[in-house]
């Protein structure tokens, strides 16, 4: 070892000074760290403490049970059933796009579109909320459930969980009224939450009918459960005690709806109504509450609420029979002869006509150079007001229109609610058209002419009503002139059956109809059903067993296509050009309770194709009334089980059979043919 030289063995003094500087610099560095620590832990400690809590507390939404919908006697029509939905949690789905989704597509038989849609939602979920399960298939069938369960091992991140699913126990019956539900859209979400709603993406929201109108009431209030989660979003059960007492806010279930519709009467209406398309509506003349409501064809809300495929959706929307349209209120039709009550009331009110006023019917009415034909070419002979109603003699009403003009008729119609929405709100409606001279001056080329009044007087021309409006007109005549707002929800109840809100009958207006006029019209209507030769006589005799009860009724056969010179038989016309069969009336005539309108679209003749349905409903109504007076009330909250023997044709069946629907002709039935020739 070489003896060390002084120079490089002992560190010099200047080196020692540098050690001091270095120590100082390092201390300074540590002081800097302490200052930052002070800022974080002392100055902003509370803020970060709050952030750390927000980090690990996840709020889990507890969904409120949606309210059920019951009929007038408490039978449950719509409730929730458990269904199994398949979810993908993007964060746990390894090889999602290479392995899992192709396998799922195979097991659940997805087409390319559905597969792409699922891939997109999973991709989006992976970016935004990777721990939020994404529903990829709602309402698995038993078969699909088994298939998924069997291949659990290869489906990473796929889970099957029970989810309450809206269950429409009536299937297609009442579908337009009950509505259906489907997923909320982004725009709706933003709009509703801006108004204080608490929806989340993926929530279902009521569409159409009661589900839409009472969405907020049915929905209830969601609760919240706070959970401790770790950074991977997994719940840590043991730590939940840290959250304290208010960790759970229980949900409040939605209100239950009680309808005015009695399902037994509804079933009878469904059974008795023969048409492929059309409507039946029965309302209480003294309250405006709807007792039965048929709109055919319907749709299956269970299908639309669950997994409707694009192909099925297209089939529904393209169907020429338009199953999504509520024919009771959202479609209007020429009322045909059923409109004549309005014309007759206007005639009596004008003072120019009295029930005894005789008009001779030679089989038509001449106005200027043209002749308006009566439906009976041979003519009815001399007719007074009663018999004109009974036989539906068009000539009598042509004479009225010729004498008093269109406007008194239009005013009477408007007073009775025609040409304006009824205010039902719950379902969509169209206002219909009640023409007046002002209307024609505006709408028709050349303006108003007398001929238009003649057409309107017998319910043709531009005259258009919805079956619901017509039922309200007959109800108003029955009760002496009170026009009610139609309603179908009696009350809202909470879970325990306590009434939250009761809906009272609402009067729209009282129409000034002198008692004598009303009685004269009703007398004519009674003749229609009660006297031989009346257009509804045969149906009334066959349909109602209680011979002492008087029915006031009017049938109608509204022409759809313009007539040529030759009258075609029904079977010679294509389906969509055939006449609408109408029935409108109420019972009992002396102490009215129930007004009913039947529209058998393209169904043929009012007396044969609409009246029997109405008679069956009336018969059932009074049967039930008698039965309920003696029998004890049923236990409420029984789930509804369909007992309708005649199943409503599905959209497919209707499409297949419509061309050859046999006209259900009652042989020998005398018919009223309301035919107006406009040229």
């Amino acid at each position: 070892m070489t003896p060390p030289t002084l120079g490089n063995t002992t560190p010099g003094r200047e080196l020692k000074r540098r050690f001091l500087w270095l120590g100082l610099a390092m201390s300074l560095g540590l002081v800097m760290l302490s200052i930052q620590l002070y800022r974080l832990q002392i100055t902003r400690g509370d803020e970060y403490a709050a952030k750390s809590v927000a980090n690990f507390v996840k709020e889990v939404r507890l969904r409120a049970d949606r309210g059920v919908i019951k009929d007038a006697r408490g039978t449950i029509l719509v409730d929730s059933r458990p269904s199994f939905d398949a979810f993908i949690t993007p964060a746990f789905c390894t090889d999602c796009f290479e392995q899992v989704i192709p396998r799922l597509a195979e097991l659940l038989q997805w087409d390319a579109d559905q597969r792409k849609k699922v891939e997109d939602t999973v991709r989006m979920g992976r970016r935004n909320a990777p721990f939020q399960p994404v529903p990829v298939r709602v309402d698995l069938t038993r078969d699909e459930y088994d298939r998924l369960a069997a291949r659990r091992d290869i489906l990473d991140g796929v889970e099957v969980a029970p989810v309450p699913h809206r269950f429409y126990r009536t299937n297609t019956v009442l579908s337009h009224v009950l509505g259906y539900m489907n997923e909320i859209t982004q725009e709706e979400l933003e709009r509703l939450n801006a108004d204080g709603g608490r929806y989340a993406l993926g929530d279902y929201i009521g569409r159409r009918g009661l589900e839409r109108y009472f969405e907020q009431r049915l929905r209830g209030q969601d609760g919240v459960r706070k959970e401790v989660v770790n950074a991977r979003g997994q719940t840590i059960e043991e730590l939940n005690v840290k959250l304290g007492d208010n960790a759970v806010v229980p949900p409040v279930a939605g209100s239950n709806l009680v309808l005015s519709i009695d399902m037994r009467l509804q079933e009878e209406a469904e059974r008795a109504f023969p048409g492929a398309t059309g409507a039946v509506v029965a309302i209480d003349v003294n309250t405006g509450f709807i007792k039965a409501l048929v709109s055919r064809p319907g749709f299956d809300p269970n299908l639309l609420t669950g997994r409707v495929t694009p192909a099925q959706m297209a089939l529904l929307s393209r169907d020429p029979l338009e199953p999504m349209v509520n024919r009771v209120a959202a479609e209007h039709y020429s009322p045909g002869s059923t409109f004549k009550v309005v014309t007759q009331l206007a005639a009596y009110k004008s003072g120019s006509f009295r029930p005894e006023t005789m008009v001779s019917c030679p089989g038509g009415y001449r106005l200027g150079a043209r002749t308006w034909r009566c439906h009976k070419d041979s003519g009815h002979g001399l007719m007074d007001g009663y018999n004109a109603m009974k036989t539906s003699c068009d000539t009598w009403f042509y004479k009225v229109a010729d004498t008093i003009g269109l406007d008194p008729i239009g005013e009477m119609g408007k007073a009775l609610g025609l040409g304006a929405p009824t205010g039902i709100n719950v379902v969509a409606e169209v206002p219909g058209i009640m023409p007046t001279s002002a209307y024609h001056d505006k709408a028709s080329p050349g303006g108003y002419t007398k001929g238009m009044a003649l057409n309107s007087a017998i319910g043709q021309g531009d005259n258009n009503v919805t079956p619901l409006q017509l039922a309200l007109v007959y109800a108003a005549i029955a009760n002496g002139g009170t026009l009610y707002k139609p309603q179908m929800v009696q009350r809202l109840e909470n879970l325990d059956g306590q009434v939250i809100e009761e809906f009272k009958p609402e009067v729209v207006r009282r129409v000034d109809i002198p008692r004598a006029h009303r009685d004269a019209v009703v007398e004519g209507l009674v003749k229609v059903a009660q006297e031989p030769g009346g257009t509804a006589y045969r149906a009334r005799m066959a349909g109602i067993s209680d011979k002492s009860m008087k029915v006031a009724a009017k049938t109608g056969t509204a022409q759809v296509a313009r007539l040529g010179t030759v009258r075609l038989k029904t079977h010679q016309m294509s389906y969509f050009e055939r006449d609408h069969a109408w029935f409108a009336g109420f019972a009992p005539a002396d102490k009215p309770e129930l007004a009913i309108v039947v529209l058998n679209e393209h169904g043929g003749h009012g007396g044969s194709d609409a009246a029997p349905t109405a008679m069956a409903v009336i018969q059932k109504y009074f049967d039930l009334k008698k039965q309920d007076a003696t029998a004890p009330p049923p236990r409420p909250n029984q789930p509804y089980t369909p007992s309708v023997s005649r199943r409503a044709p599905s959209a497919d069946e209707a499409a297949l059979t419509r061309g050859v629907l046999p006209p259900a002709q009652l042989p020998g039935d005398e018919e009223d043919d309301t035919r107006a020739t406009a040229d």
Binding site: F19, M26, G29, L30, S52, N230, A231
Partner: protein
């Protein structure tokens, strides 16, 4: 080569340094027991094993006269360089970097030991290169120290292990500055730091409409650029680049004055921080024990540095003094950078906290360094 401890060495054993180191180690194991609470694997027991191995290493290093180590500095350095080069061919890739050898059950990170190699080599250079009449280093004379740290710096940088490269660079820079350089070099350094600050300000902070006229930013890789922006504003991209920084600040800040209690930390327990038992171990400490204990830990580290510098101060020769400076600088920069990144002062780099973080290589290299300090201290009066 003498493997013995003589009686006259005993009074010079730096007990203060050893006690501080052991205290930090024990606190570290206790802290790891919290960071790795069930259901995680109880890594604290393996850390205790590493500590035991580390103490053996200290002992072994103490037995050898450091002048023998001085002679062996070049071979040690060369072996480390070879190991780094071998890493290019036999290395195990994890987290995007080729930094590990797999030897049986162990994963060895040669870069950790490279740091010590660089420190030894630098000290040897400064020892041999001493010119009493020319105390400060000019640009020309610096080529040897620069070469010594430049080669491993580049080798580690291309792994890529930016953090360790940065540590090698900063440690060497400290040693070089300690070895005294000409004033213009210091001025250049200050100007460089200023320029860096201006570039960062221009590229990341300045409010200008897009497209931003950037100077360096477009040359960086995306993850590197994100580290800088994540450091400057961790809340801006919580799920991405800012996640670590933001969660770590939340963990530290929520500790408050007295902390949440051992094994009571929510950020730790619910694993909001990946790497919480390695790089982000300090956040666990800060969250569970609060400001007071954080300062205590800093004081302990401070004591280690001061004692370490004291060893150098009293060292027998320039080699010992420079080794002590290098070792302490290495420890200081790691502590500073690691805690700085945990509390949001510095950008996130993969640097472990000496003696606290879980990891055998890290523990071993720190213990070897401490062994060197003890060695130098014990032999201060030997000739």
């Amino acid at each position: 080569m003498q493997l013995r401890i003589e009686r006259r060495m005993v009074p010079h054993i730096p007990w203060g340094l050893i006690i501080c180191v052991l205290a930090v180690c024990l606190l570290g194991i206790w802290n790891l027991a919290s960071a790795s609470r069930p259901p995680l694997a109880p890594v604290w027991s393996s850390q205790a094993l590493y500590l035991g191995l580390g103490m053996v290493a200290v002992l072994v290093v103490c037995l050898v006269d450091y002048r023998w180590i001085q002679r062996m500095a070049l071979p040690i350095y060369a072996a480390n360089i070879l190991a780094l080069i071998a890493l290019r061919f036999f290395g195990h890739t994890a987290k995007g970097a080729e930094s590990w050898f797999i030897i049986g059950p162990f994963r060895l990170q040669p870069a950790e030991f490279m740091k010590i190699g660089v420190v030894l080599m630098l000290a040897k250079v400064y020892h041999d290169d001493f010119r009493p009449n020319e105390p400060s280093y000019g640009l020309m004379r610096l080529w040897k120290p620069v070469l010594v740290f430049g080669v491993p710096f580049v080798l580690v940088l291309v792994q890529p292990d930016l953090g360790t490269a940065l540590m090698i660079g900063l440690t060497s820079l400290t040693v070089i500055l300690f070895g005294k350089v000409r004033w213009y070099l210091v001025a250049t350094l200050v100007a460089g730091v200023l320029a860096g600050a201006i570039i960062i300000w221009n590229d990341y902070i300045r409010e200008v409409p897009e497209p931003r006229p950037t100077i360096v930013r477009h040359h960086l890789k995306k993850h590197q650029s994100q580290r800088i922006s994540g450091w400057l504003d961790p809340e801006a991209d919580l799920r991405g680049s800012g996640y670590h920084a933001a969660q770590s600040k939340i963990a530290v800040g929520s500790g408050g004055v007295s902390g949440k209690g051992w094994r009571e930390g929510t950020q730790t327990g619910l694993r909001f921080l990946p790497e919480q038992h390695t790089d982000f171990i300090f956040s666990v400490w800060a969250e569970e024990h609060g400001f007071v204990m954080c300062v205590l830990l800093l004081l302990l580290y401070g004591a280690i540095f001061i004692f370490g510098l004291g060893v150098g101060f009293n060292a027998r020769d320039r080699f010992g003094a420079f080794v002590a400076v290098g070792v302490v600088a290495m420890l200081f920069w790691q502590v500073f950078e690691n805690i700085g990144m945990v509390i949001g002062l510095l950008p996130v780099t993969g640097i472990t906290l000496p003696l606290m973080s879980y990891g055998g290589s890290s523990m071993m290299s720190v213990m070897l360094s401490v062994g060197l300090l003890v060695n130098i201290s014990m032999r201060r009066h030997m000739f």
